[in-house]
């Protein structure tokens, strides 16, 4: 039995099937009960999109230990690339999604070139700087990005499957499509942790120096991780552009980048694969539920974030595991 202190991507890991089935069951049935629960379809769509973004971000932070605080930039690049491709290219869903993946990966690669020899606070600061540069470009490059207004009236092209064409115009249809992509991304990221590349990422996270002395190309590992993470963030951004029918500079802003960090940490991304998903759901629900009662919801959420970082850095998943261990009569955290 691995102790609770063990990080992800190591030791005998928990099974994938059960939590995956549980998450999928909740998501796929959501349209049936979400109105009864006092919510609405669009919020479920947004949760799935942010969950995908948070998972892609946690590849970098949780698995490779690389703190990026400007990750909204790649989400935003994906959103803009999707918008530009379907508005000015051709209104094809696959083209738009491919454009988002490729553009976010390319921008991610460019940034990774400059930061992959750094680590810790220097790495973090450089990601912020590049994030701000991207945000600034989104605002100023009016002819391409539409400036402060952003790209408006981005269509939701239908899902072409050769034999059938399914409209994604309704939030419910787009939600199911987002869940399908989310499932693919989840499966990819899950098996990546346990693949050779995942082990090497864990080694780089744990001890860059020793990884070098084991002959690993540490720079290239960090570079590749950043590119994969940025590409998947861009895919989430493309879904966001569809959901919002627009792409605007705000998605690249520093506070949007901060939101994903808060989701991942509150959920428990440092100790659990599913932490970011829980954190994304928690954040979006808190935003709507707290936001309905007070303008200053972020103040309360920020306080909660500080409390988590101070008292339970393992987040919701960490707290849940501790409680379960207590119920089971074991010493919490004991091996």
């Amino acid at each position: 039995m691995p102790p609770a202190s063990a990080t992800i991507a190591t030791l005998a890991r928990p099974a994938f099937a059960r939590p995956f089935v549980l998450v999928m069951a909740i998501l796929l049935t959501a349209p049936l009960w979400i109105k009864q629960a006092g919510l609405y379809q669009y919020i479920a769509l947004e949760i799935v999109i942010w969950a995908m973004f948070a998972l892609s971000y946690n590849l970098l932070l949780g698995q490779a230990g690389l703190p990026s605080f400007g990750h909204g930039a790649y989400f935003g690049v994906g959103a803009y690339a999707f918008g530009l491709a379907v508005k000015h290219g051709s209104p094809n869903l696959w083209l738009g999604l491919a454009a988002a993946l490729v553009a976010a990966a390319a921008v991610g690669a460019l940034v990774a070139l400059f930061i992959s020899h750094r680590r810790g606070i220097y790495y973090a600061l450089m990601t912020i700087a590049f994030g701000q540069v991207m945000w600034f470009i989104a605002i100023k490059w009016h002819s391409v990005t539409g400036g402060e207004d952003g790209l408006l009236a981005i269509p939701r092209p239908p899902l072409e499957l050769g034999v059938a064409s399914i409209s994604l115009a309704s939030n419910e249809a787009l939600f199911y499509f987002a869940v399908a992509l989310f499932a693919i991304v989840t499966l990819f990221l899950w098996q990546l942790q346990d693949a050779p590349f995942g082990r090497v990422m864990a080694a780089v996270k744990g001890n860059e120096e020793r990884a070098r002395y084991c002959g690993h190309a540490v720079w290239t590992v960090k570079f590749a991780t950043f590119v994969i993470s940025a590409a998947l963030a861009g895919l989430a951004g493309a879904l966001f552009a569809m959901a919002q029918n627009s792409a605007y500079p705000n998605v690249m802003s520093l506070h949007n980048s901060g939101f994903v960090v808060m989701m991942v940490l509150i959920g428990g991304g440092l100790v659990s694969f599913w932490g970011p998903v829980i954190g994304a759901a928690f954040f979006i629900l808190a935003r709507d539920l707290l936001g309905a009662t007070t303008e200053a919801w972020l103040l309360w959420y920020g306080l909660l974030f500080m409390a988590v970082v101070l008292f339970k850095p393992e987040g919701i998943v960490g707290a849940w595991r501790m409680l379960r261990a207590r119920w089971a009569g074991r010493v919490p955290g004991g091996a």
């Binding site: 098996q191 050779p196 864990a202 020793r210 690993h216």
Partner: protein, 247 residues
Amino acid sequence: MALLEVSDLHKRFGQQIVLDGISLRFEQGQLAGLIGPNGAGKTTCFNVLTGRFAPNRGRIVFDGTDITGESPAAIARRGIARSFQLMNLFDALSVLDNLIVAMPALRRRAFRPFGAVRKDSELAARAQALLADVGLAGKEYRPARDLAYGDRRRLEIAVALAAEPRLLFLDEPTAGMGAEGAHQLAALIERLRERVTMVIIEHDMPFLFALADRISVIQWGQVIAEGSPAELRADPWVARSNLGAIA
């Protein structure tokens, strides 16, 4: 030809000269020792030979290839591994994974994004054999950080061995191990000497004199004496220093 041939190595940190013209030859299959007082330059010598610092002057030739100034990763890929005096493990990883990430078999497919490492029975078997070798069997699923001090030292050596080196540098392997631990370590090194050329920095003179084929004494960044343990014992300079007294 020697497996590693070091000639006229100089290393300066600012005004301080740490290595002042060191020349060493390590023959294939030999077990060599480096001794000398603290601050003599032994660990710096390891650091330069394994790529952490580039030398200011001098040449390092490994198996006929000039490797002077290469990066630690490049040198490691050539088959040179080291253990660290201050332990340098993958603390969050399991004992088993500490070894697996150090294996060339994993490194060669480091960028493969699929295929579960957990299910690779060949890697696991190799790691298990290593753990049995160093006396860590049964602890494979513990995170490295939870190991006791002596076990961490064993793992430190096992990680270096997992790289399947042709040349292995061990930096004070017995430090803090206790008599029983040092005894087991000596037995392990005896078993390894068939397979790998070793260079050991050690302060435990009886330990090293019992194992080494050849010992170099380093002081003031220079090699001041060299020879077999028997020759060194007979050396009047070494005999007059306390090094000889301990041996």
